[in-house]
């Protein structure tokens, strides 16, 4: 056995023999009360609990661990590999199965528990000991594979692939499957496909009454309608601005570009909130219209128009960023070719430019579509009686009716919509190459837009720009006046309510928002680097290593992209509230939710970054005796800085602004800023909500600056002219 494998074996042994096997309440290093009775008791080790008869079902797995030890003295690696493969796989399986078979009393998998000789027994969630042992067994298996020459014999790569598969299985597939299972469980708590059909076919989901009568349509149709409109309008706006910026001499282009960054660091529902302050019944515009023109105040903003407007404002920048890349990618020489063939501007535009744009437009549309489907904050704030799937799922879980089965069914519908869109996107765009850039210098000048197109584009973009500016003015000033829309007396009241510090007894963070604020910043700061690490590591494995099932793995990392936050939130609650993995109410579950929701961005920017880095650099490093871990750290990572920054910034910002998933996962101890703000909005305390939001925006801007500074510039070699790989990503 190689030294690294021996170390691993010792660690696994330690996990089984010494570390507390279970997760117990009050576990921590400050107070050790939970350790009473060690090595037995609540904090006992797996070995002790197994031998003492408290948890004998742990022994078979332990035996496998000892079996792996037989490989220790082996010089012949192939023999050692055989032992490691068998012992690792069986041990992992045994530990894993006992965890799922034996959980709380009356749950788990009874027949399997009986096989373990633990009929009717119960056990707590897996703790540090179980974690170390389980991962250790998996890695021993991976080492065995590496001995066999898998992953070019690289132990590190094999281990990382194993870990990645485990994590994706545990934190993406397992929760989703749990939700889907939940859809098949009837009210009585038993398997009941009939109940599923009833719920699935319910008219509140698929009803088409709005077409014939004056009732609201099914929530699925509402969601689809909203998403299609949102996708279409954001694409139109994005295209118009991209064309204006790249193909006209429009003044103040910087403004347009700046406006595309702001919504990215804005908590999603804040735009909805600002819209209420502008267009609500007592909003700025409504006031003016009413007092000057006697236009009656209405509530048009609550419902489809309001939600759509908020979503368009929030997501159009993303469409813009996608489309500006596409417009830039169209080689001017193609258009020039058309012109030299005698085509006029309009003909060139309609016969050459437009067809080249089409696939990019499809992409932008699908992103807007999926974003809208997944959006939770804006429908919550502005929806009124217009229900969409994401909010309906939420109310199915938290409402008085408390119908998890219904939530699961709704989640399935939503998931199938987003997966469908995702599939379409992959299928459609996988086949077509929509960029004409080839790395060669392209000397041509872009054709200016035909005049009618440029007028049309301006007419679309200018109102949007004005509205966006107004909204940000409101967001930044709204916190400083008593009550937007009613009383414009300047005040610091809202900030004091939220962020008062009492200096009379040292520092006492008295303000109402401090708790959630600290928690949010802390969790975002922890999860951002972890997300980046997992994402970039996955990208490295996917892009640089060849192994069986790589395609499937890549698809599943992208899958979590298509899972709307509400669905993931429900899934996590259902999956991780009971042993073997018991995390609800902890900060850990939030961190994990952030990691696996935002990981695809790390993966994408990592893949984009890696494709610019010659693979032979890695190989050169390997032939200079560097193992993959060293190569990653010393060669790949320094060159991936732009991707690293993109991943860090994105995951930090997303963790700060996430609503949909976390609203289910926040707890007393770990409340988050967004959940708190949503509560304030619900209670009508717009001042505090706005004030808090503007604080968040400032903190995020600061955080981004710190990340930029901390990661630093990539030392520029021959790649000096490359633009950073900051991919535009649809975080769903």
């Amino acid at each position: 056995m190689r030294p690294s494998t021996r170390l691993l074996f010792l660690l696994a042994l330690c996990g089984f023999g010494l570390l507390p096997w279970y997760f117990t309440e009050g576990m921590g290093l400050r107070t050790l009360g939970w350790l009473s009775g060690y090595p037995l008791g609540k904090g006992g080790s797996g070995l002790a609990l197994g031998l003492s008869g408290t948890a004998p079902w742990l022994l078979p797995g332990g035996a496998m661990l000892l079996l792996a030890g037989l490989a220790w003295p082996r010089q012949d690696e192939q023999r050692a590999a055989t032992i490691l493969l068998w012992a690792g796989a069986l041990g992992f399986l045994l530990f894993f199965l006992q965890g799922f078979a034996i959980t709380l009393r009356g749950q788990g998998i009874p027949w399997l528990a009986a096989l373990f000789g633990a009929q009717g027994a119960a056990q707590a969630g897996m703790g540090p000991g179980a974690l170390v042992t389980l991962v250790g067994m998996l890695l021993l298996f991976c080492h065995g594979l590496a001995y066999r020459g898998f992953c070019r014999g690289d132990v590190f790569t094999c281990s990382m692939i194993g870990l990645l598969i485990l994590m994706i299985g545990l934190f993406i597939f397992f929760p989703v499957v749990t939700v889907l299972k939940g859809a098949l469980i009837g009210n009585a708590g038993t398997f009941d496909p009939g109940a599923f059909l009833d719920r699935f076919l319910d008219s509140s989901i698929w009803g088409l009454g709005c077409l014939t009568r004056d009732v609201s349509c099914g929530v699925a149709w509402n969601t689809l309608l909203l998403a299609v409109l949102c996708g279409a309008i954001t694409t139109l706006l994005g295209l118009a601005s991209a064309l204006l910026i790249l193909r006209t001499g429009m003044p103040a282009k910087w403004l347009l570009r700046a406006l595309t960054v702001l919504p990215i660091i804005t908590p999603p529902f804040v735009i909805g909130l600002a819209l209420i302050l502008i267009f609500g019944r007592t909003g700025l515009v409504s006031n003016v219209l009413y007092e000057w023109f006697d236009v009656p105040r209405t509530r048009w903003i609550y419902g489809l128009p309001g939600v759509l407007l908020a979503q368009v404002l929030a997501f159009a920048p993303i469409a813009f960023l996608v489309l500006i890349g596409v417009v830039q990618g169209i080689s001017p020489s193609l258009e020039e070719a058309s012109q030299t063939l005698g085509a006029r501007r309009w003909e060139t535009f309609s016969t050459v430019t437009w067809p080249l744009l089409r696939p990019g437009i499809a992409n932008a549309f699908l992103i807007g579509f999926v974003e809208s489907m997944a959006d939770f904050g804006n429908p919550l704030v502005l929806g009124g009686n217009f229900e969409v799937l994401s909010t309906k799922i939420f109310f199915a879980v938290v409402g008085a009716a408390h119908n998890e089965g219904q939530a699961a069914v709704l989640a399935m519908v939503l998931l199938s919509f987003t997966l469908g869109a995702f599939w379409l996107q992959q299928r459609w765009l996988g086949k077509k190459s929509y960029t004409t850039m080839n790395g060669k210098g392209d000397a041509g000048l872009p054709t200016p837009l035909p005049r009618r197109v440029s007028w049309l584009a301006s007419a679309t973009v200018i109102p949007w720009v004005i509205l966006t500016v107004v909204i940000y003015v409101i967001i930044l000033t709204g916190g400083f006046v008593k009550s937007m829309g009613r009383d414009y007396t300047p005040t610091l009241e809202h900030f004091l309510t939220g962020f008062r510090i009492d200096f009379s007894r040292g520092f006492y963070f008295e303000g109402a928002a401090w708790d959630s604020f600290f928690t949010t910043v802390k969790l975002a700061a922890i999860s951002a680097p972890l997300t980046a690490i997992v994402g970039l590591l996955a990208a490295y494995l996917l892009k640089r290593q060849t192994f069986q099932g790589r395609g499937a793995l890549e698809f599943s990392t992208m899958l979590s992209f298509a899972i709307p936050g509400t669905v993931l939130g429900v899934a996590y609650i259902l999956a991780f509230n009971v042993p073997p993995i018991e995390m609800t109410g902890t900060g850990l579950i939030l961190v994990i939710a952030f990691i696996f929701r935002n990981m695809p961005v790390g993966v994408r920017s990592g893949i984009a970054g890696l494709s610019q880095i010659d693979k032979s650099l890695d190989e050169a490093s390997a032939t200079l005796s560097a193992r993959s871990a060293t190569t990653l750290w010393r060669v790949v990572l320094p060159l991936l800085r732009p991707a690293l920054i993109a991943a860090l910034v994105y995951s930090f910002v997303r963790a700060m602004t996430a609503v949909s998933a976390v609203i289910f996962l926040v707890s007393a101890e770990y409340n988050l800023a967004t959940a708190y703000i949503v509560g304030r909005v619900e209670a009508g305390e717009f001042g505090l909500a706005i004030a808090y939001s503007s604080v968040l925006i400032v903190v995020m801007a600061l955080g981004i600056a710190i990340i930029q500074f901390g990661v630093g510039e990539r030392k520029l070699g021959r790649r000096a002219t490359e633009t950073g790989a900051a991919p535009v990503v649809a975080g769903v």
Partner: protein, 356 residues
């Protein structure tokens, strides 16, 4: 810390590499003696680079055994093999200076920094790159980058040094100089080198032995001269140098000599195990001598094309035995099209080729 292992032999035993259903290398066996320079030569897609990468550990053999210095390394990762490689693209780390690049190997092996830098400076001096230590790779010319890449590969004094088409990005003159330098270095430092190229001239110039690969198998293995003068088959004859491949007839075989008839000409050539009957004859263009028409045992023909190439002429001559490509040194006089000539055969560069 850094014990010198000295050069080691490389042995392939029935090695096969498959990617899915595609077989890149099919059941090949060969040995590279310690301290020799062996070239893997062949057209693109023949499996030579895959073979090299299997020595490095960048690809894992699907079947068979690979030994380095007599030790089985078949399942060892690249990092665990004492092998360095110079890449076609040089693969210098763009974010590191020249010195950091060369010192990379030792630092990975946890040699103290000062010592690692010392080792790096030594090797840079060996390749003549003293004074460039603090430059970034992007600030070097192609040839300089090449030298740095070589220094970096040398710094760990590996058992085996691999070159993957190291000269293909250089211009013709530099290529010639660099290949001489590589050869000198290999001799001076007594290295085992495996060298991949598709350029037969380069291979002939630098190698102790050449392994010619074609379609995932070894077509022929031998010393450069052996390959050029006694090609094992039509492919090798054609690939190593230029050759006129024509149908001829073996009239009789006596001992190791054969009487071969080509049109009106009869030649006495080494038999190479051929039986009487039809046979392929490989004739190097420089072995066809243009003489006055009318002598005995000559092949008459007419000039079809004549091109002036500075130090020699390229001619195409039509004869009853087929069209021949002929080079003519030592004259600068262009021969007019249609002029009748006679071809004589030199006593070198004309050989029977076994097999189809």
């Amino acid at each position: 810390m850094m014990q010198k292992a000295g050069p080691a032999s490389v042995e392939f035993r029935n090695v096969t590499k498959r990617y899915g259903t595609v077989t890149a290398v099919n059941n090949i066996s060969f040995t590279i003696e310690a301290g020799s320079l062996v070239t893997l030569l062949g057209p693109s897609g023949c499996g030579k680079t895959t073979t090299l990468r299997m020595i490095a550990g960048l690809e894992m053999a699907s079947e068979g055994q690979i030994l380095i210095g007599g030790k089985d390394v078949t399942r060892l990762s690249a990092a665990d093999r004492d092998v360095s490689m110079v890449f076609q693209s040089y693969a210098l780390f763009p974010h590191m200076t020249v010195l950091e690049n060369v010192a990379y190997g030792p630092t990975v092996k946890r040699v103290p920094k000062a010592q690692a830098h010392e080792m790096a400076r030594n090797k840079l001096a060996v390749v003549g790159m003293k004074g460039y230590e603090e430059r970034l790779p992007s600030e070097l010319s192609g040839g300089q980058q090449q030298r740095v890449a070589v220094a970096r590969a040398l710094v760990l004094e590996p058992q085996v040094l691999l070159f993957d088409e190291p000269l293909s990005n250089l211009d013709a003159k530099l290529r010639r100089r660099m290949r001489e330098e590589i050869r000198d270095l290999q001799r001076k430092l007594n290295l085992t080198v495996a060298y991949v190229t598709h350029d037969q001239e380069e291979a002939l110039a630098v190698s102790d032995r050449i392994i010619v690969m074609s379609n995932a198998v070894i077509a022929q293995e031998g010393a450069p001269r052996q390959l050029y003068e006694e090609p094992a088959d039509v492919f090798v004859a054609d690939f190593i140098g230029d050759a006129n491949l024509v149908e001829a007839e073996v009239v009789s075989v006596a001992g190791d000599r054969a009487e071969v008839r080509l049109g009106p000409v009869t030649l006495s050539l080494p038999a190479r195990g051929m039986k009487p009957g039809k046979a392929k004859l490989a004739i190097r263009p420089e072995s066809l001598l243009i003489v006055e028409a009318g002598g005995p045992n000559l092949l008459p023909g007419t000039i079809r094309k004549c091109a002036y190439l500075g130090n020699h002429l390229d001619l195409e001559i039509a004869t009853e035995a087929g069209d021949f490509y002929v080079t003519r040194h030592g004259t600068r006089e262009i021969m007019p099209e249609g002029q009748p000539v006679s071809l004589a055969f030199a006593d070198y560069g004309v050989t029977l080729v076994p097999g189809g």
